[in-house]
């Protein structure tokens, strides 16, 4: 779903995409391989994300995006290769993975340093539009509500690397725009690196500094989006990039997409 962000969002990392693994890298992956039952889902993958870069990751369903994210999060260590990531990471998984035995607000605060109060959780939940479900048990949340709670839980952390696995998939148009803005704001304020897995090409183009397409276990294609923010999906460059990406994903898309604004 195409969107134009309300507020001005500037990339804090002007030296975008050096990708040389220099001192200010946030992610450095060298010849990473991850196999399940002998099938290499990730196959000699190389990836560098400089600190502060916003990267979107596209790819066919089942191509290994979530697997890559789990490796970067340090959760999957049955790998070969070299992976360097910051200590402070925050993850929003594809499934919400809320602890069913903790009320929503406690889920948000789980694992945070320094015993933050309920107010912190309430603020974060209000931002994702869950102000009225603060005290609910996770299993009573709707699909989109659970996804937003999981997003809020990732965003209240102050990470150096933010890993988001299709965080807006179950959200309606309006809620999605709000959530996108939240991520963009955190990114801008904190200057963290972001890796966003998404299936929405327009979302990727509007948010990211760089868009990767994963295929065959490696980063098969990447494009840089050299446009200041706020971006407009009707922008000819973006429309062209969109066609290019959709093409890479196996879909033909000759005409530029429409732009819609928040009501």
């Amino acid at each position: 779903m195409a969107t134009e962000l309300h507020r001005q969002v500037n990339s804090p990392a002007k030296d975008l995409g050096k990708g040389d693994g220099s001192g200010d890298a946030a992610v450095r992956v060298r010849s990473l391989t991850r196999s399940f039952d002998g099938r290499a889902v990730i196959d000699n993958l190389e990836l560098d994300i400089p600190a502060g870069e916003f990267v979107a990751l596209l790819g066919r369903s089942g191509c290994g995006k979530s697997t890559l994210l789990r490796v970067l999060a340090g959760l999957d260590r049955e790998i070969e290769g070299e992976v360097l990531v910051p200590r402070r990471k925050a993850v929003a998984f594809q499934a919400p993975r809320l602890m069913p035995w903790k009320r929503v607000w406690r889920n948000v605060l789980l694992g945070l340093d320094g015993r933050p109060g309920r107010a912190v959780a309430e603020r974060a939940l209000k931002e994702v539009g869950l102000g009225h479900r603060v005290d609910a048990w996770p299993k009573t949340l709707s699909g989109g509500e659970a996804q937003r709670a999981s997003l809020a839980r990732a965003l209240v952390r102050e990470p150096d690397l933010l890993l988001l696995d299709e965080p807006f998939g179950a959200l309606d148009a309006l809620t999605r725009i709000t959530a996108q803005q939240l991520v963009a704001e955190l990114w801008q304020r904190r200057g963290c690196a972001v890796l966003l897995v998404t299936h929405d090409v327009e979302e990727a183009l509007l948010l990211a500094d760089r868009v990767l397409v994963m295929d065959g276990g490696v980063i098969a294609h990447q494009i840089r989006v050299d446009r200041d923010r706020p971006r407009d999906i009707a922008d000819p460059l973006l429309a062209e990039l969109r066609t290019e990406l959709l093409d890479r994903l196996g879909v033909k898309a000759p005409e530029p997409a429409a732009v819609h604004k928040v009501a």
Binding site: G74, R88, K89, F93, M99, L110, G111, L112
Partner: protein
Amino acid sequence: MSPVLEPVVPLSARRRTVPRWLRRTTGPLLLLVLWQVSSATGVLPSDTLASPGTIAGTASDLLKDGTLPHAMLVSVQRVLIGLVLGGVIGISLALVSGLSRLGEDLVDATVQMLRSIPWVGMIPLFIIWMGIGEAPKIALIALGVTFHLYLNVYAGIRGVDAQLIEAGNSLGLGRWGLIRHVVLPGALPGAMTGLRYSLATAWLALVFGETINADDGIGFLLNRAREFFQTDVIVVCLIVYAALGLLADFIVRTLERLLLQWRPNFTGK
């Protein structure tokens, strides 16, 4: 072509009105009625099993002369101490072997082996090690409790969804935080089952514990009654056990309602 429609019947249309506790007493009450009826009709001769009336008489005698209340007091004390002791040990062992591979390799096989040993066979050893005071009685109870809790908590820990453990990890929870916020709550349903059975085992262990130099307690009463062929006293003791069992069950159910309210599980229909 056009499908036949069926109504979705609202549940409220046929909601039950009998309160829960009343419905739960139906089974035990039915059993009692059956017993009385078969006693009265002679289907159950009195030397096979005394009638509820006879038993009630014996029970009220034992109550009046203070034997039963005193015995219960003593036994409950022993059970509580054993329960706490066994609980701490059992849960700790379960944590060690549930949480680490190394712990599992060292602890689990050993516990699985030891728990198969009938602890009644151990009584002489217990006496040698602990004398004939309260220690061996409580040790017997603790032993039974330990193994039950161990087994269920261990299974509970191993049953925790790996995805949630991952999530906890990714949220920056340390080892202890993970245990406290993810593993233990996840193992709680299992622990509750273990607790339920531990309570029963504790009472059972008492029967053996109170063969060791006891002149008090429900187990002692039961053993003496067996020795002296007092079938009615035996039945009174068994009924006391059953009542205590129901009480324990009630306590565990209440605990479950408080602690597992997050769990919207299958509740039968």
